[in-house]
């Protein structure tokens, strides 16, 4: 029997060690599968329309400026100064509204081409910034 006891102990060690390694493997498997679930969860999330919002703001600005140009050109008492101040007012109102939507915007008149009563075109600088997207563009708006 004296020879048998060490064998018996060794068997216990193998089972213990084997069990421990198996347990660790299953824990690892759980972690890996969790990563897979996370990836699939992320994949099923809707894509946030980051370019869409910026582009919508740009076209809204373009429309607002075209409208202002129409109004300023239609009234001979108004000139480039009235246009610039009108755009500034529009910007401050819009910026406040956009902050509620999580975006910081700025609209700036770069150049105004025309005379004291008629504006033929303006160059506008638009900046749109959210936590993830930054978009700055300069474009020309011609009088309709």
């Amino acid at each position: 029997m004296a020879d048998v006891i060490p064998i018996d102990r060794e068997r216990g060690q193998i089972l213990l060690l084997g069990g421990l390694i198996l347990a660790a493997t299953f824990v690892l498997l759980a972690v890996i599968l969790n990563g897979m679930i996370y990836a699939e969860n992320v994949a099923s999330q809707g894509e946030d329309a980051r370019a869409d919002d910026a582009l919508r703001f740009r076209s809204e600005t373009e429309e607002a400026i075209a409208g202002t140009l129409r109004q300023v050109n239609g009234d001979t008492s108004l000139g480039p100064a009235a246009f610039t101040s009108s755009i500034r007012d529009w910007e401050s109102v819009t910026a406040e509204l956009m902050v509620e939507r999580g975006a910081r915007v700025s609209v700036r008149t770069v150049t105004v081409v025309g005379d004291s009563t008629h504006i033929s075109s303006v160059t506008i600088h638009v900046e749109y910034q959210t936590r993830r997207t930054y978009y700055a563009v300069q474009f020309e708006v011609k009088a309709p």
């Binding site: 994949a43 993830r132 474009f139």
Partner: protein
């Protein structure tokens, strides 16, 4: 008579002891066989699952980066003929590792678009995503984590001309 009895008893005793020892040895061998079999098969399972997970995660991350590149491309194209782009940056936070291994994201220009390649070293997994973009892209590679797609000046003439990937 006495001698005979001793002779007949001894072999029987020897047999019994041998059977006990053999029994232990056999049990031990079977246990080892079972345990090692289980270990080998679960080890293989873990490796296989890990590769699949890395592949899936890279695909998901790749699609998200592709969406960012496309968004940046659309924003750059929005300037049109008369306008000019001041800046376009689109950034996003991605996991820095996939199943514990770090990965590299490479953007490469091809005919008529670009290819986004995401790869890990261990396990060796690579995922390719083709993009159809209008804005030219600069060949660039970044490591996983926070990745920014930006419209940058790549030839040093002061004019922004290409989309590049950067670590934020």
């Amino acid at each position: 008579m006495m001698a005979d009895k001793t002779l007949t008893t001894h072999p029987r005793n020897d047999n019994r002891a041998a059977s006990t020892t053999l029994g232990y040895a056999l049990t031990l061998a079977i246990a080892m066989l079972l345990v090692s079999g289980l270990l080998i098969s679960t080890g293989g399972l873990v490796t296989q699952q890990r590769e699949r997970t890395v592949q899936t995660e890279l695909e998901v991350i790749g699609q998200r980066i592709a969406a960012d590149v496309t968004a940046a491309d659309r924003l750059v194209q929005s300037a049109g003929q008369s306008g000019s782009i001041g800046a376009v940056n689109v950034n996003r936070e991605h996991p820095s590792t996939v199943s514990g291994s770090s990965y590299v994201v490479a953007l490469r220009a091809t005919k008529g678009g670009s290819v986004l390649t995401l790869s890990t070293d261990s396990p060796q997994v690579s995922v390719q995503i083709e993009l159809a973009n209008q804005t030219p892209v600069a060949n660039s590679a970044v490591s996983g984590g926070s990745i920014q797609v930006s419209y940058a000046d790549t030839d040093g003439d002061g004019q922004k001309d290409m989309l590049v990937l950067q670590n934020d």
